[in-house]
């Protein structure tokens, strides 16, 4: 039972992120969608999509994105289960950076 999903997606300029987020938000099991553009090229743009819901179906999201002409580059975060567990910082993370 996926509760939160963070995706790195490549999409054409059209449909816009407004249309994309609306289309995703209408899928079953999805309660909220956030789409942020972080890179724009001449024909395409990279977006980060954060999806939250009670029961997210990854296949239906993948299918909808394909219909809209977008492709998933990577799945950057998944939170599943009865409770959303946030990322935890540990001392090892800090030492790894050094």
């Amino acid at each position: 039972m996926i509760r939160r999903l963070v995706l790195d997606v490549l999409k054409p300029h059209n449909p816009s992120i407004v249309e994309l987020s609306e289309a995703l938000s209408h899928l079953e099991g999805i309660e909220g969608v956030n789409v942020i553009i972080y890179e724009i090229d001449q024909q395409v743009e990279n977006v980060k999509i954060v999806i939250a819901g009670s029961s997210i179906n990854f296949e239906s999201i993948e299918k909808k994105l394909r219909e809209l002409g977008a492709t998933i580059h990577s799945v950057d975060e998944v939170a599943a289960g009865k409770r959303i567990v946030e990322e935890v910082k540990t001392p090892q993370d800090e030492s790894a950076r050094i």
């Binding site: 059209n14 395409v44 219909e67 002409g69």
Partner: protein, 179 residues
């Protein structure tokens, strides 16, 4: 109306009116008195312009859209067939073809109305020439007004320009007829 459809509508609508203007003034120069000939020639021209617009615009738009889609696919390294982008490309081609095919038929039929009325005895042929001439120039003027509205500039100036093109054509046809 989308920019593509607007362009096609005005461009081919203008073609339709100008073609009919040529047929009407040319027929008047040779003192043609049979409305059947003008109506038949006019409808033939309508059909030819309609078919030309329909297939010409469809093939041109489809080629351009396919090129754009392939370029997008190459950029995204993915197959976009079955996506709404691919469906939209096909729809725009058909929509542009419809507008391009119907606009010259519409404007040409406006010019032919007085000759249709002559066929059922409402008008005498010489009145039909004058009425058709006025209707055609009015259509050209209206297309100019519409262009002015699109450009958000002086509509009357645009109307006067398209009207001037019509008047110049009439003068040339009359001069050719006088030779």
């Amino acid at each position: 109306m989308s920019p593509i459809a607007r362009r096609y509508f005005v461009k081919n609508g203008f073609d339709g009116s100008m073609t009919m203007l040529g047929i009407i003034v040319g027929s008047w120069v040779v003192r043609l008195e049979e409305p059947e000939i003008i109506v038949t020639a006019g409808l033939g021209a309508c059909l030819a312009m309609g078919m030309s617009g329909l297939f010409g615009a469809y093939m041109t738009e489809r080629a351009e859209r396919t090129r754009h889609l392939k370029s997008l696919e190459a950029t995204m390294l993915t197959d976009l067939s079955g996506s709404i982008i691919s469906d939209a490309s096909e729809f725009v081609s058909i929509y542009a073809a419809f507008v391009d095919g119907t606009s010259p038929i519409l404007t040409a039929l406006i010019s032919l109305i007085p000759f249709f009325l002559t066929l059922n005895g409402t008008f005498v042929i010489w009145d039909a020439y004058i009425a058709s001439f006025i209707l055609t120039l009015a259509t050209l003027f209206c297309l100019g007004l519409y262009l002015g509205r699109i450009a958000k500039e002086n509509m009357l100036l645009y109307g006067a320009m398209t009207l001037a093109v019509g008047v110049i054509t009439v003068v040339i046809v009359l001069l050719l007829g006088a030779i």
